[in-house]
Symmetry: C2
Subunit: 457 residues, 2 copies
């Protein structure tokens, strides 16, 4: 429990209206989109860097764990206060401070919703490339803390590639700033990259300068079906291997497509063993040229049907089902575990086979959804967590899937993060000395381990 | 001096033929392309990670400073052993271990020359985007340690954007590995970005996995002259502000162009107040479209002449003078100090004016060369370092230039690094708490300060 003194000191900073330790409020901040829950002792809603700094000074003095939180859309448990303490919720630090398209940057507070930033940039003909599935709900601060990805990261890169500068409050309450508004900047260590993806374990982000880019002139989308999953996966590695760089190549298998059709009734290709959604962008001539090359490769790989959409409304219709996937799959069974392994793209066919074989072996219900173009696979299993026997199988299956991905020079997470979900599996991809080095950094920066303890390191 | 024991232990690792403390050899490793010199006590040429690890164990036990070195093309003094100790020269760790274009990566040892990697990738239709001026001589290890840039970084980004994975030997001799072959990887802190640009102060890089990308189908180049420098600079900010993203926009002023013509006799536009070299790439239609838009902007800004080159030989001819610049300028006077400030691109006109006004005020000989499209300016001053009075003016002028850049939200270095050259100026762009944080990281990782002491932090 928070001591009376600590509580009084915290309330003195935010006032009573932005501090709560009422159980009905705390419950709302006890979970994210992963499976675990833990009640914090208080939740605070800071409105300025100064307040965050003062809160950290109190937390540091009393050694109170501090967990930063945006919209709670994390799927790895990153914002769950497993060691109790306080949750700092950033929904009230949601200002877009500056948009400067001539100099190609935007300055935002961490609580800005990704989709809000996109809407503010659109009239200027610019966008912010990272597009996690949660982009209409999740905050930029959360995107940066988890180094979020998304479908179009295939062409445009992930969040860390778009962070120019940061303001961070350290565990001590000290405020530091690094980076600048310049794309080229080698002044000091590249600390924005260290904090991006650090899941709130090194410091609390209070302001971000992000790189933004001009919107492509046009885009074209293909929906392609196959009667063998292997040909679907092979098409992906053949397209990427040919030197074309689409914006996105998404893969949905039969289990996934049937779940989507049952929920959405959109006349989706439920008979197909595998479906690809492929998007290219740029000027019209370049889109057409790439679509032509891609179509050749698809035909060589025995594509059954190829639907092309060039108008935005038609493209959105093709994308609608893919975007709905996570919500739909969550309803197949009481619980869903959607994972996030990544393998080099030439290994996509092998990894898809291996995932299906593992799920089959344990007689579980699941399949594969993938940002296949960059090898980022979301194998998912739907089950009931209260059925201990079934859940043990789910855990055993995922352990095998992680091991198989590691053996293919893959990695445990492409975009979801480590959080609570995967710390135990880090030895599959990092040896002891390398893991120890993560701890060296963490201890130096947060010696009392008050920043999001229990995560990542 | 190295103790007899330390020397024996080091020779036991490399053998006598890859260890030297002969003064004539040490002299060769006492300087880079900056102005300072310092004699190391020994130079070693390791051939494996194991040897590097063993050398670091000896260095750590005896607290001997260790400075890593590639080809010595650094222009900030980064590989100069100012605290003596040993230089680890990586020219014998120069193997390209694997090129895998279907999965878009290359694995190299740090001593591979950037240009060698380009030549190995070309037959596959791929390239490695970072192209520092030194690319035909400098090593990839050095490029990564300094987070090198280059002209085409405007479109393609800098070195850190292409480092997927690293093997690093720590001060203790421990070997760590992080990252993977996957573009999307959020497993643990983003340490490859922390080490990239760390100038050998945190660890010694022994292997790199780099992202490589398909070559564009074609490219087109413009050489454009102006009779006012202000219009030259304004064209740059107008092009970038319009949403076009060329591969490169290089700016050369009259002083620079005349120096180039005097040395090269290429019938260069010596009358022009400013010259731009602009390159676009992609498919033919897209290049043509962009060149058309750019030409409109240039005309609006009163361009005097516009020469277009589409064939590779013609493009190379336009580029030849620009590529020769550093070598040529070095001959104008006994010494040249070429600096590396970066400002947001809308501030390019103001920064160019300010540089010229400062150089004029001190009655010095110099000018501006710039990767202008990303705001990365190389103001240069040619003088005689033995003329104490003149050199004091050079130093005063650069201090003003740095201060002006900082005031425009610019930064001290876009691509050259901090090294010996600029540690003293860090307070212009980083406050005390932020600088202290650099030291926190350095102390945690290298507690005895044996890794390239005296640099960066």
């Amino acid at each position: 429990m928070l001591s009376k003194t600590a509580k009084e000191q915290l309330i003195a900073i935010t006032g009573k209206d932005r501090f709560s330790d009422a159980v009905e409020i705390l419950t709302c901040y006890s979970y994210d989109s992963f499976l675990e829950e833990a009640m914090p002792e208080a939740v605070l809603f800071p409105v300025s860097t100064k307040e965050v700094s003062e809160i950290l000074q109190v937390a540091s003095a009393h050694k109170i764990p501090v967990t930063a939180r945006g919209a709670g859309t994390s799927v790895c448990g990153a914002p769950i206060a497993v060691n109790q303490g306080i949750v700092l919720c950033f929904t009230k630090m949601d200002k877009i401070i500056e948009i400067n398209t001539p100099d190609r940057y935007a300055i935002v507070q961490p609580g800005v919703i990704n989709g809000e930033l996109q809407r503010a940039l659109a009239p200027e003909g610019f966008f912010f490339p990272p597009d996690p599935g949660s982009m209409n709900f999740s905050t930029i601060g959360g995107n940066v803390a988890l180094n979020a990805g998304g479908p179009r990261c295939l062409k445009y890169g992930v969040t860390v590639d778009y962070v120019l500068s940061m303001e961070v409050v350290l565990a001590s309450g000290e405020v530091i700033r690094f980076g600048s508004r310049n794309i080229k900047d080698v002044t000091g260590y590249k600390l924005s990259a260290l904090f991006c993806g650090s899941e709130g374990t090194l410091g609390i982000i209070t302001e971000l300068t992000l790189r933004v880019v001009p919107c492509p002139e046009t885009a074209q989308t293909l929906m392609v079906t196959f009667d063998e999953l292997d040909n679907t996966a092979k098409s992906v590695s053949d397209i990427i291997g040919s030197g074309i760089l689409p914006v996105a190549i998404e893969l949905v298998d039969k289990v996934g497509m049937n779940a989507l059709e049952n929920a959405l009734h959109q006349d989706l290709p439920t008979e197909a063993a595998g479906t690809l959604l492929i998007e290219v962008d740029g000027i019209k001539e370049s889109c057409e040229r790439e679509i032509e090359k891609i179509t050749d490769i698809l035909k060589k790989n025995h594509a059954v049907s190829i639907i092309k959409a060039t108008e935005e409304a038609d493209r959105n219709r093709l994308w609608a089902a893919r975007r709905a996937a996570y919500g739909v799959f969550a309803k197949i069974a009481p619980d869903i575990l959607s994972e996030d392994v990544t393998v080099p793209v030439s290994k996509v066919p092998e990894m898809v086979r291996s995932i299906n074989s593992t799920i089959g072996k344990y007689k579980l219900k699941g399949g594969v959804l993938a940002h296949a173009g960059d090898g980022n696979m979301h194998p998912f299993i739907c089950a009931d967590r209260n059925d201990k026997e079934e859940w043990a199988k789910v855990e055993a299956a995922f352990k095998e899937i992680f091991t198989d991905a590691a053996a293919l020079h893959g990695t445990l997470s492409g975009e979801h993060g480590i959080g609570l979900a995967k710390t135990q599996f880090l030895p599959l991809v990092m040896d002891e000395a390398s893991r120890k080095f993560l701890t060296t950094i963490k201890r130096a920066v947060d010696p009392d381990n008050i920043l999001n303890p229990g995560k990542l390191v």
